[in-house]
């Protein structure tokens, strides 16, 4: 989860716009390596919007839950299972 200022309201003028472009690039990378683009998301809000931040955080957590474990974690879990089974035998 990447959080930037509201567009047009950034202390660094275009820092949040640049961050948006970078995040878009990461979407592409994750999509192309089959991890999926949904595991990163950028939100824009001001420093005074605490409740909105909480809502966005909850929304993103829900999204991650919905997606389930990442393909990498599934592979790692499978490998760990294989090792423990081997050790058991």
């Amino acid at each position: 989860m990447v959080v930037g200022c509201l567009e047009g309201d950034c202390h660094y003028v275009s820092g949040n716009i640049r961050a948006k472009a970078r995040v878009k690039r990461v979407y592409g990378i994750l999509d192309r390596i089959k991890i999926g683009p949904d595991r990163i998301r950028m939100y824009n809000l001001s420093a005074g919007e605490g409740s909105k931040f909480a809502a966005y955080a909850n929304e993103f957590v829900e999204k991650v839950r919905e997606l389930g474990p990442s393909p990498i974690n599934l592979v790692r879990a499978g490998q760990a299972r294989a090792v423990s089974q081997k050790e058991a035998t």
């Binding site: 640049r18 472009a21 990378i29 192309r32 390596i33 089959k34 991890i35 990442s70 990498i72 790692r76």
Partner: protein, 221 residues
């Protein structure tokens, strides 16, 4: 600087497919400036490859390295003590750097992680454009500092062609006619007499047409 663009990750994955233990080598020179092959790009690409490999059920060991320049022997030699411990080197330097590594480390396969582009300038952050084709016989003093070889799509030497319309080149609406730029600049400099100073034919033997080029400076050897 020498510019470049990253190769698609799928293409890189295919190249590294046979290997489980590689060096990923960046360069602190031009490719760092154009954000395609520097230390940061080494880190991003290495992480991407590790994640992609792991997602596919295999792991890959990657040693991340960034040389000061991959086109100078003193920096390339820094890799010699450990290069033999790895199955391949994936380089994200320009084509010159990649080839230089290949020449120095003859028993290690070299893989290109970027597509090398052109000699150019930074227009603004994230945008680069071509300025020089290294023709080996510079005429910028006659053309208002604007290169007809590079800026004219046809590399013409005697003014704009019929495809120049209102200062725009026929190959692309975003491309300005190089010769219109030259003439405008010569007028501004009050140097239009240079327009008639061209030699009838440009000798291209100093360019790529003469084969791979070499510079030998006796005073530097």
């Amino acid at each position: 600087m020498i510019t470049g663009t990253p190769k698609p990750i799928e293409e890189i994955m295919e190249m590294v497919e046979p290997y489980d233990n590689i060096i990923l080598a960046g360069c602190h020179g031009c490719v760092t400036v154009c954000r395609v092959g520097g230390e940061k790009e080494v880190q991003v690409l290495a992480s991407t490859l590790r994640l992609a490999r792991e997602a596919g059920g295999r792991t890959i060991k990657i040693r991340e390295v960034s040389l000061e320049r991959q086109c100078d022997p003193e920096y390339v030699e820094q890799m010699r003590p450990y290069v033999g411990d790895y199955q391949a080197v994936l380089s994200i330097a320009c084509g010159a750097g990649i080839q230089f590594l290949a020449e120095k480390f003859t028993t290690t396969p070299l893989l290109p992680g970027i597509n090398t582009g052109f000699l150019g300038v930074t227009e603004r952050q994230g945008e680069w454009s071509e300025r020089c084709q290294g023709c080996g016989d510079c005429v910028l003093h006659l053309t208002g500092g604007i290169c007809p070889v590079t800026r004219c799509a046809k590399s013409l030497f005697h003014g704009p062609c019929g495809g120049s319309v209102q200062g725009i080149c026929e190959v692309d609406k975003s491309v300005k006619c190089g010769w219109q730029l030259i003439i405008d600049r010569l007028k501004a400099l009050n140097q239009m007499e240079n327009y008639t100073k061209f030699k009838p034919f440009k000798g291209w033997s100093t360019a790529r047409d003469g084969g791979p080029r070499r510079i030998i400076r006796e005073d530097m050897i």
